[in-house]
């Protein structure tokens, strides 16, 4: 009985190890490539202005090709993990276009909340290589009156709505 359980476990483990991202990928062709820009937005301070989020690790996993795309899906569907660097921009070399991708935000600090979120699906449309810019934004929301008092120095009321004439 014990032996049977162990064999079942071993079989399951072996089965799972072959379920990696690279299985059943479409063949790689030239003509792909797109960019991903990493953006942060802190809506908790009253000025929810987006800004370039530097040095963020993003993982991209091909999901599926768009069957009804006005053209043929091209490029490489392999999984990648790349850092957005100081320019907050990732170039996905020959990344598959006319395809759906799942993007995961992997850098936790100071983006702990976003690094724990599941991957987000995005569609990279057909077009000339490196014309599409996918914007991947991590947004922080806070609501309620308490947080405004709890985090140190206050700028009150909001400076956002200035009276410039």
């Amino acid at each position: 009985m014990k032996m049977r359980s162990m064999m079942t476990f071993l079989f399951l483990a072996l089965s799972c190890s072959s379920c990696d991202d690279t299985k059943n990928l479409p063949p790689t062709t030239p003509g792909g490539g797109f960019y991903v820009q990493t953006v942060g937005q802190d809506n908790s301070n009253g000025i929810g202005t987006p800004f370039a989020a530097q040095f963020i690790d993003i993982k991209g996993v091909w999901d599926h090709d768009n069957a009804s795309c006005l053209g043929v899906p091209v490029g490489d569907a392999s999984t990648w993990t790349l850092n957005s660097g100081g320019g907050a921009l990732i170039q996905v070399t020959n990344g598959r276009i006319c395809a759906y991708w799942n993007f995961t935000w992997q850098t936790p600090s100071p983006w702990a909340g976003c690094a724990t979120l599941p991957a987000q699906n995005g569609y990279v449309p057909i077009g000339p290589p490196y014309t599409t810019l996918m914007v991947f934004t991590c947004i922080l929301y806070s609501t309620g009156p308490i947080i405004a008092d709890a985090q140190g120095m206050q700028f009150s009321p909001s400076p956002t709505f200035t009276d410039v004439t």
């Binding site: 942060g40 800004f51 921009l89 914007v135 947004i139 009156p145 405004a148 008092d149």
Partner: protein, 272 residues
């Protein structure tokens, strides 16, 4: 440490006052930001030494290098503040750092928010950009306040006059390098930020609507709640601006490019 405190002191004292004076009564309370935006610019501003032009030059370098959302222009098309040929780049930054030193010594002119509006709108006309790239004093002030929140040492310097009275606004005038920081931020947001890609009139309406919404969410809540969200999107306006810019810039010869840079410094009121 003492030097640091001396630099920070006016900011710590005057910024909350200045911000409060530019807000409608009953607006939402604000907190210090938790993310570092243009942290390197702030660091270089902290290291400024009064008579050392190299430190001003380092700050100018950092302002041009700071990520503003238009990095794709540089990577894909070789266009942008980081792509200026070295010989021209040297002259511009030299002129800017000297103007900044002179301004801080009380010998040079400041740059008004209106000058930033004028130059942005001149670019819109020159490059045939869409109407939503036009800007206004309100949008420039908004972006200036955003930078002031994240770069208080640099952007707070000189924001208020010593004799400021209750009810008065912050200075409309900035130092030359502060103005370039604001100008590039405005241009960056006009390029990548969908919320900022509005005509001044549409943006005013949008802001008024947001103010009402923010007040409602911040005053009716009974408990603090922080949530995160991930969004994947494509900004079609960004593509539209990119195409227009690439088309126009590629058709310019070096003399025209140089003349445009010269015009920028002239409109910003930065002396030769």
């Amino acid at each position: 440490m003492i030097r640091y405190l001396v630099r920070c002191l006016p900011m710590l004292v005057f910024l909350p006052i200045a911000l409060a004076q530019n807000s409608p009564p009953g607006g939402p309370a604000m907190t210090t930001p938790r993310y570092r935006v243009h942290a390197e610019v702030e660091e270089k501003a902290r290291l400024l030494q009064d008579n050392n032009q190299d430190t001003y030059r380092a700050l100018a370098d950092e302002i041009f290098k700071a990520p503003r959302g238009f990095e794709i222009l540089a990577v894909a098309h070789g266009i942008g503040p980081t792509e200026i040929p070295p010989s021209i780049d040297y002259v511009i930054k030299d002129r800017l750092s000297w103007a900044e030193m002179q301004y801080r010594r009380g010998l040079g002119k400041g740059v008004t928010e209106q000058s930033i509006v004028n130059f942005t709108n001149l670019l819109v006309e020159k490059f045939g950009l869409p109407d939503y790239v036009r800007t206004s004093p309100r949008q420039v002030r908004f972006m200036r306040m955003f930078l002031m929140l994240h770069n208080p040492i640099f952007m707070g310097q000189g924001a208020v006059r010593p004799d400021i009275q209750v009810g008065e606004s912050i200075n409309e005038e900035m130092s030359p390098l502060q103005a370039v920081h604001v100008l590039l931020e405005v241009l960056g947001h006009k390029f990548f930020d969908a919320d900022f890609q509005l005509t001044p009139e549409a943006w005013d309406r949008e802001q008024a609507s947001r103010a009402t919404h923010t007040r409602a969410t911040q005053t009716t809540g009974t408990d603090t709640k922080t949530t995160h969200q991930l969004v994947v999107s494509i900004n079609p306006k960004q593509s539209e601006i990119r195409s227009a810019l690439v088309r126009q810039v590629n058709s310019m010869n070096p003399a025209e490019a140089l003349s445009l840079i010269d015009k920028a410094l002239e409109v910003l009121g930065i002396e030769k």
